[in-house]
Amino acid sequence: MTQRATIAYWTGFCVVLALLIVAPLVLPEFWRRFLTEILIWGLLAMSSDILIGYTGMVSFGHSAFFGLGMYGAAAALLTLTPPMLSLAILYGLIAATGVAAFVAYFATRLRDIYFAITTLIFSQIFYVIIFTWTEVTGGENGLTFSRPPLAIPGLLSVPFTPDTLHWFVLATVTASYLILRRITQSPFGMVLQSIRENEARTRAIGYAVERYKIAAVMLSGLFAGLAGVLYALQNKFAAPDFVFFLVSGEVVIFNVMGGIGTLVGPIVGAGAFLLLREAFSRFFTEFYLIPLGVIFIAMVIFMPQGLLGFMRRWLNR
């Protein structure tokens, strides 16, 4: 990577980050909330990109990890007194990663389309369980709870304001981006990419492909769970709707729209999708998915690289 490209990349990174930091101070309430939501969905889409873009496995089951993150956080906030942010995050991550390990153990036995379908069915299993186990999960109504204070143990504890919530989400998403970027450039990430390019050869070289795949799904599930925790914190509820597979489908749409294998692309895709949804729902009310679906199909056919696909090389240096 040339010096110049590095400087350009980090300059771009800092400019975008600075804009996102300032945004809540200038934007009106509705759009600030909208931006926070884009970041959270972007994190979810980014976690899925680890599988779709880097390992070459399309997961249609990310709603399970996301939802379990939400319910994990809800469990910590409802059962522990006093409710603590750090424990909510920890519970959410454990729940999501545990589920991801379970799903990965079975789903990674299959490849390509079979993997996609199996993850989809697994996410439906969790949906049915959450939906029917009313005593614990609240069933159809879900769980509501109050937001814990923004606390770092032993350092500070302040209640969340809309602005600090945005910054908290932004910090988490940025950190996750940097971590995921580092991981995709690590030897581990290189093995994942070689699985995408040629699985048989990767196995022949001597890598335990199955273990790498399971690790990739768990990693992906971890960050999806983190997105779930953030979403639960923002909305102060956990609901079975978010475990339903249509959420997973939307995540895949984010990825394809933004450009797979770029990490930033999915965030951009999530932003584009949510903006289009906002715009279309003014004209088409709740039927916004009709024009959005048509756009999505057109993008799959004519623009498989997505919005940011053309800068994939550059972003991954």
């Binding site: 399309v58 249609f60 079975f106 789903a107 036995r109 299959l110 390509d112 389309i113 079979y114 996609a116 379908i117 199996t118 989809l120 069915i121 439906q124 299993i125 049915v128 369980i129 939906f131 029917t132 597979f245 489908g249 895949v252 749409i253 394809v256 709740e286 039927f287 998915l289 009709i290 959005l292 679906g293 048509v294 999505f296 199909i297 799959v300 056919i301 498989p304």
Partner: protein, 297 residues
Amino acid sequence: MALLAFFASIPYDQILIQTVNGVVTGMILALVASGLTLIFGIMDVVNFAHGELFMLGAYMGVVVLAATGNFWIALILATLVIALLGAALQVTTLRPLIGRDPLTTILATFGISLVLQNYALWQFGPVARKIQEPFTGHFTLFYLEYPWYRLMIAGLSAAIIGAFWLFLKYSIYGIWIRATAQDRIMAQAMGIPVPWVYTFVFAIGAGMAAASGVLFGPLVGVNHAMGLDWVLKAFIVVVVGGMGNLGGSIAASIFISLMETYASIWVSPTLAVIVSFVVLILTLLFRPTGLFVPTPK
């Protein structure tokens, strides 16, 4: 003694009733799943929109039935219209994707399913519609008045699948289809119009989904989300039965439906769904190629 008590506690009459129920739903599921298997086995396309074609078929049945008042005309017309719709969808969205990664077809058909489902919601509204049964006769099964119509569904589904199997086995177009499934490039070299074979196959699959939608309509209400349930079940069937294997998916349909109906004797029907998930997990663990396929050598 405990064992005896257990056997005495089994409700044998219920089990027989549930066996009949299981076979009936199993045959409908087989009709849906064989369309899905066919499309997958021949085109390498996982049709996410299959449930929506099922649902639109049922709606077409409602519309035609309201216009003509004849169930059989509704069944045939709905099948034809949805088959044409399937052909149109295949030409516009799937044909450009021939030769690309099969995963892109999942994305495209997922997009189609979103559009169709919301279109149905827009066109027909959220209130469930009802299809009137063509005949309302009953016969006595233990303490139940069991409708003849249900048995007719099972028979008709079996007939459609059987007719299709004969078509695939003996007609010239069936041979074209099988040749394309075996080797696309060779088939093309022999002068078979492969892209049109694909369109035709998709149309047949769509038509089968629509037919099962109309047949199933009288048992439950027709609403815009009815496809979701079925496509998930059909996916499970297709994985358990072995991908792209027609006989396997029929066997798996009946097997899974029976398991679910037996389970619903003891637990609520929503929880009984979990049984099919368990079957799926066990299949993946011990026989990931599918339960009803010969062991690969």
